[in-house]
């Protein structure tokens, strides 16, 4: 269905040679199915059987809507249906639109994105640019028809720069499937952090591909908060292309109704003396389904690697399910790699203890669940983001935020 639409769409558009190549690759391989190992538990078929249109339309955006979705940072880069709407004036930051940009890919959807995305933006942070506050990247989406939207950004962090970003997709219109590709290139000694706030309405399905290339002495942090969304698939890849890189991944997933969240992460340790740290926590209510697949690869030359991965999950319903696969592939011997994975419930004794001290069952459960998540929250260093996370968590656990 969607593939027909794509074929129809490309007939009227002129493609560059890179785009043509990518399109051919995509058409040859098609959308991933559950027989692909990486999509084993993720029924993309259900999502793509709906009729989506690829043409975009325009809409009015006002401050009121922007305020509603903003966390209140001063600097914002705002996109409207994938096109740039406003950008902050910061010396050392430049944003430009390009067409022919080949980016690394981690799935067939990246090829599709490369082939048909009309608005590719390069966001460049100059070297030694030190930003005190995060910059918000807000994508507002509102289309006349059900929409299959391609978002495509390349972020370059110059050497020695310090960049923090907050990214949010805000769909205020009809049913939308977002296919987003982001490639971050972190140069020498750079620091890059992005927080992805994923609280979508039921109209929004997202496939979020994030690839991070790291040069020597750089640090990259990716925080993913999945609080709502009927279909969320996150592909997160780190490539450590030189020595002494650090990669951190933090994730909080807390979903209800029949939401679906899938995290696929991959860290490629190619050089020695590198670190990676991964901590994903999930809480699942109602009919939710969670998938986690964390892969750590240590290549033969990559000695003295320290890789840590943990995935902990709480299941609160018999109709909820979790499939997890923490995966290690190690080809070097002088490494310390470990992963841990748990699936369980709130400790009954702790619950009883709290109840016997006058907490209602709901509050006690809520507080214990929050305590379960706190390890990840404590790693966050921006007040506004911690605040956002606490608000959403309190809402999900139906307890007062003041308690947290």
């Amino acid at each position: 269905m969607l593939i027909e639409e794509i074929k129809k769409h490309v007939v009227d558009t002129e493609l560059t040679s890179t785009q043509k190549k990518s399109l051919d690759y995509f058409l040859e391989n098609g959308f991933p199915t559950t027989s692909d190992e990486d999509w084993k538990y993720t029924p993309l078929k259900k999502v793509i059987k709906r009729k989506y249109f690829l043409q975009s339309s325009d809409f009015e955006l006002n401050d009121e809507i922007i305020q509603q979705y903003s966390l209140g940072f001063k600097n914002k880069i705002i996109f409207k249906n994938g096109k740039i709407y406003s950008e902050p004036k910061i010396s050392g930051l430049s944003i430009k639109k390009t067409r022919d940009l080949c980016m690394p890919k981690n799935s067939a959807l990246c090829y599709l994105n490369e082939a048909i995305c009309e608005n590719t933006y390069e966001i460049i942070f100059d070297k030694n640019l030190n930003l005190d506050n995060p910059i918000e990247i807000l994508h507002f989406i509102n289309n006349d028809n059900d929409y299959f939207l391609q978002l495509r950004t390349k972020i370059t962090c110059g050497s020695g720069s310090n960049v923090k970003l907050v990214e949010r997709f805000c769909n205020i219109g009809k049913k939308t499937l977002i296919n987003s590709c982001m490639h971050a290139d972190v140069k020498r000694n750079g620091f890059f952090e992005i927080s992805k706030l994923q609280s979508y309405n039921d109209n929004t399905h997202t496939i979020d591909n994030t690839l991070v290339d790291q040069d020597r002495d750089s640090t990259a942090n990716v925080n993913t908060f999945s609080f709502d969304g009927s279909f969320i698939r996150n592909n997160l890849n780190f490539y450590q292309n030189n020595e002494n890189c650090t990669s951190n991944m933090n994730g909080i997933t807390i979903i209800n109704k029949s939401n679906f969240v899938d995290h696929h992460t991959f860290v490629d340790h190619k050089f020695q003396n590198c670190l990676s740290n991964e901590s994903y926590k999930g809480v699942y209510f109602d009919n939710t389904k969670g998938v986690f697949n964390g892969k750590i690869m240590v290549r033969p030359a990559a000695q003295k690697i320290n890789a840590f991965q943990s995935n902990n999950n709480l299941l609160f319903s018999d109709s909820a399910s979790i499939k997890t696969k923490p995966q290690l592939e190690i080809y070097a011997d002088d490494v310390k790699c470990s992963h841990g994975c748990t699936i369980g419930q709130i400790d009954k004794k702790s619950l009883f203890y709290m109840k016997s001290r006058g907490f209602s069952e709901k509050t006690a459960k809520g507080l214990l669940t929050f305590a379960f998540l706190i390890e990840v929250i404590e790693k966050l260093n921006t007040k506004e983001i911690v605040d956002y996370a606490k608000t959403e968590i309190a809402k999900k656990l139906s307890i007062e935020k003041g308690l947290l």
Binding site: Q303, V335, H339
Partner: protein, 485 residues
Amino acid sequence: MKIEPKISEDILLDEVTSKEYEYGFTTNIESEKIEKGLNEDVIKFISKKKNEPDWMLDFRLEAFKVWQEMEEPDWANVNYPKPDYQDIVYYCAPKQKKKLNSLDDLDPEMKKTFDRLGISIDEQKRLANVAVDVVMDSVSVATSFKEKLAELGIIFCPISEAIQKYPELVKKYIGTVIPTRDNFFSALNSAVFSDGSFCYIPRGTECPMELSTYFRINEAGTGQFERTLVIAEEGSYVSYLEGCTAPMRDENQLHAAVVELVALDSAEIKYSTVQNWYPGDKNGKGGVFNFVTKRGICHDNAKISWTQVETGSAVTWKYPSCVLKGKNSIGEFFSVAVTNNFQQADTGTKMVHLGENSKSTIIAKGICAGKSNGSYRGLVKIAKGAKNSRNFSQCDSLLMGDKCGSHTFPYIEVDNKSSQVEHEATTSKIGEDQIFYCNQRGIGTEEAVALIVNGYCKEVLNKLPMEFAVEAKKLLEISLEGSVG
């Protein structure tokens, strides 16, 4: 303190890597084998040779049909030249003049083989109290202690004999745990298996001795396809051992076995394997391809425990599994997998929880040295109905040398809220501080490594029956000495 010069380590390493496979001899026994290749006639020939009833032949032909439609899987993390299935001899038996009644009638040449293997049937008979069934080139050649077991109603015999004598039992259970179409190798095995062991423990009986099977591939160019079926009736207990060796040959030999365990209500089966097939030489030439399907089904309150020590084979592809169908059933998996030189192992387990309160434990220890690759691949599945289920998995890998690889692929699927699953895995090498500590106390690096590895594997080795534990320990030392410089 004086640090040992590097040169001596190299010499040591050399010595060990060039250490020859101890069991690599061949036995000159006249054997009877058919032409290479596989077709319906071959299957009919095997079936006829075994004097099998029609239902068995139908079972085989059906499996052959299924197998022809299947493709050899390649999802495992191993690389090897695909065997040519038409270039294998599917039936090969040591020639025997007459049916043997006791071990004393055994061909002296064959008896010598057993002595060299270290089984020494006589000795075991006296000391270890182990009943042994020996399968050589896919044919069961000797079974000891038969009469004594028969008094208790325990049946322990070659499966070909069981098909003749106890067809209703075999018919009832064969292919129920591992259906013919389960996978490529189980289908192949179902079509061509020539022998194996059959074991039946009647209701409420505790088998007084360890039952043991020794497998050996002797003849060149043959494949070994044995089939083992263990049935433990309500409330019974059996401990079953399996050991394997093969001569050194330049070509790759195929071993595709199927082992089915049935633990009925409250029964317990303990299945231990020491696998020491020829691993190939230090350049990766030759060696056995070990593609084995092992699975057990646990009914209410039953328990199945798999213990394996894997040191041999060029390529191992093996996942002993438990289907925890009944309430309160227990599945256990303890494994040590050692790979050296060019060996590749993709091994692990599956624990499928279907019954309430079912429990499973997985302890997998991998040791990789040389240029080898070891993978743990496991599945823990907790179905919606398996309330209050519990699983604990731990898989650790120890790397020796910078050219080997260790991989972990654990799949965990949970579908209810009352179950608890834990999984942890670590990968590291032997700490220099640990070795230094031992050196300081006058323990040489060699010994220190053996000591540390032994401690590392202890959890698993402790689960092995005594005689096997000794052998396993020895094997570990042979496989690993000097791998760390």
